[in-house]
């Protein structure tokens, strides 16, 4: 595309009147910047993908091997021979799965109470919840660690999972905003039909809020899957490591020095699910970013 735009410019340079000429030139510049920027954005992914399938000589070859052939798929099993890769994957899937369930269930319940039900103290409590959002995570990290350590949860997966079942102010806020856009008449109609509050929540609010719930689930997935800090703080037993922690452990271990193709293979395993989820739910993702301002 860029190439064509540029060629147009050069062939028409002298034939067209000035404004037209300037527009074409501008178009060419725009395409040039956009394409080279996209190349910079995409290249590291390409490099990771190809390096993950190279043999050791191909990794350090110059000129670089752009597309390795044959594909060295055995790199993945080689990684599994050095670190308990399957176990890392299992831990990551377990933690992420439970955290998504915990977050969506507890936050949607809370959001329902704050958006649709009237109870004494509701608005005050909501305000307190929200104002605590300005306290950075760094403040609660140390005392939470001490408490979890004292109740014997250090070096278990519990500190990674259990808090998610008790909601988070931010997601409650997000879902509450969405729930409030659902007309109240729907609740009232259901009440006249004899539905109780749990029933209204399950049969009306939740089905109508699928996009918002999906957005919360996707961001929870990304945040938890990529989380490095929490596992780093709480886990010391290799058998409990999640993928990102395992990757950094693998990267730092001395006998894997210069085994770049293995590192890239493992890194690819961490990155791929995020990219797949992004492609599957791009619209929700963009919407979520615009609403929440959360950067990836």
């Amino acid at each position: 595309m860029a190439v064509r735009a540029t060629r147009d410019t050069s062939s028409r340079l002298s034939w067209y009147p000035s404004p037209r000429w300037r527009r074409t030139l501008w178009q060419a510049v725009v395409y040039l910047i956009v394409v080279s920027g996209a190349a910079i954005a995409a290249f590291p992914f390409f490099w990771e993908l190809t390096t993950a399938f190279k043999s050791p000589p191909e990794v350090s070859a110059w000129p670089p091997v752009w597309i390795p052939w044959p594909l060295h798929v055995e790199n993945f099993s080689l990684v599994a021979g050095v670190v308990p890769l399957a176990q890392y994957l299992k831990n990551s899937v377990l933690v992420v799965g439970l955290v998504i369930v915990g977050t969506t269930v507890s936050c949607s319940m809370g959001a329902y109470a704050f958006a649709r039900l009237r109870w004494p103290g509701r608005d005050l409590i909501f305000l307190v919840l929200l104002s605590a959002l300005i306290i950075p995570g760094a403040v609660t990290t140390v005392p939470s660690f001490i408490v979890f350590q004292k109740i014997g949860w250090y070096n278990t997966l519990y500190p990674l999972i259990v808090p998610s079942f008790f909601g988070s102010a931010f997601n409650v806020f997000l879902l509450r905003q969405f729930f409030m856009t659902i007309p109240l008449e729907m609740d009232e109609a259901a009440r006249i039909d004899g539905a109780g509050f749990p029933r209204i929540f399950l049969s009306i609010i939740l089905p109508l809020s699928r996009p918002a719930l999906a957005t919360v689930a996707i961001f929870t997935f990304m945040g938890t899957w990529n989380d490095f800090f929490t596992p780093l703080v709480y886990l010391s037993d290799q058998q409990l490591f999640t993928l990102p922690l395992g990757l950094v452990f693998f990267q730092g271990s001395p006998h894997t020095a210069m085994q770049t193709q293995l590192l890239m293979a493992m890194s690819l395993l961490v990155v791929t699910p995020c990219i797949v989820v992004y492609f599957l739910a791009q619209r929700l993702f963009i919407q979520g970013i615009v609403i929440t301002g959360v950067k990836g």
Binding site: A42, G194, N226, V248, I289
Partner: protein
């Protein structure tokens, strides 16, 4: 977000209203309140257990000397006083400030510029947007490891290419002069998130404003200064506050890629806090650091908010 058209409430069981109302002898209003408390219980409990409790504990610990094994010893303001004389603490503040002062404006210019380009009429625009956004969905350890390979001093593609054109590139991440800036540039790779926010902001600017400016003979540059920037200022403001908070929590890349640097040249604030808490087990000291972090971010955010009244334009705002 709107409710999809044509959607109706799913069918409900036909329980008679009379029996439900009579149940438990509560009025409708009372039952609503009970339901409200029950539904909010997990969130309220979670707030007390995982936010309020830790906050109070953190205040307490910050006034003690505590190594997690022996009992906490009350030291009053000692931790805060020690911090003020701690060279590494000031080093971590300096590192974070340097990264923020350079990284935030660069990130702002880059993402706003790219958002404006992607807002033009260009072909396959959704493809370009997808590509630009891709890096920001894969943050963290995997990205850090990937960039370690790209920037590898001997076999990395960057240095190989630079040597090919006859330069003598440094070992970017192991060099006191370049390590921090390299980390800043690597973090710019993930600006996709703010591009999306700016794009949404740009698309919210009414085209009439541009048309009116054109009629008045405004050049593209003047249209940018007098229409785009003022209309976008709330979004810019929002991104700056977020970026500031993010900058102070910057941890994974410095930890994985430089471990703080040879002479602590990349010792970010969060990295030093982590070291104090989880390498030296100075829990009280680390708690005090966290509160200083909170005070700094709060002060800067307030300054931003205060200055915001001068340069942020909110539509529909009533002038005083």
């Amino acid at each position: 977000m709107a409710i999809p058209p044509g959607s109706t409430a799913p069918p409900l069981s036909s329980r008679s209203p009379a029996t439900t109302a009579a149940r438990a002898g509560l009025s409708l209003r009372q039952r609503e309140a009970v339901a409200g408390y029950l539904f909010a219980t997990p969130v309220i409990l979670g707030f007390i257990l995982f936010t309020l409790g830790p906050i109070l504990l953190s205040i307490f610990f910050s006034l003690t000397s505590y190594d997690i094994i022996s009992t906490p010893r009350w030291v009053g303001w000692q931790n805060y006083v020690t911090l003020l004389g701690d060279g590494l603490f000031w080093q971590s503040i300096a590192v974070t400030t340097k990264a923020a002062v350079v990284g935030l404006p660069l990130g702002l210019a880059l993402s706003l510029g790219l958002a404006m380009l992607l807002n033009q009429k260009i072909r396959a625009v959704s493809l370009w947007r997808t590509i630009y956004f891709l890096p920001s969905v894969v943050s963290g350890a995997a990205v850090a490891v990937l960039w370690l390979w790209i920037l590898n001093p001997v076999f990395g593609i960057v240095n190989s290419l630079l040597r090919q054109v006859g330069l003598q590139p440094p070992d970017w991440l192991n060099n006191d002069a370049t390590a921090l800036w390299t980390l800043v540039v690597v973090s710019l790779w993930g600006v996709g998130g703010s591009i999306v926010i700016y794009l949404a902001g740009l698309q919210g600017i009414p085209t009439e404003l541009y048309d009116a400016a054109k009629v008045d003979g405004a050049t593209a540059w003047r249209r940018f200064i007098h229409v785009t920037l003022p209309m976008l200022s709330p979004v810019i403001f929002f991104n700056m506050v977020l970026g500031l908070i993010w900058q102070f929590q910057w941890f994974t890349e410095p930890y994985v890629m430089t471990q703080g640097g040879r002479d602590n040249t990349t010792l970010t604030f969060m990295l030093y806090l982590y070291r104090n808490a989880f390498s030296y087990f100075q829990m009280g000291y680390a708690s005090a650091m966290a509160w200083i972090f909170f005070a700094i971010v709060l002060a800067l955010t307030l300054v931003l908010f205060r200055s915001g009244t001068m340069w942020v334009y909110y539509e529909g705002e009533r002038r005083r």
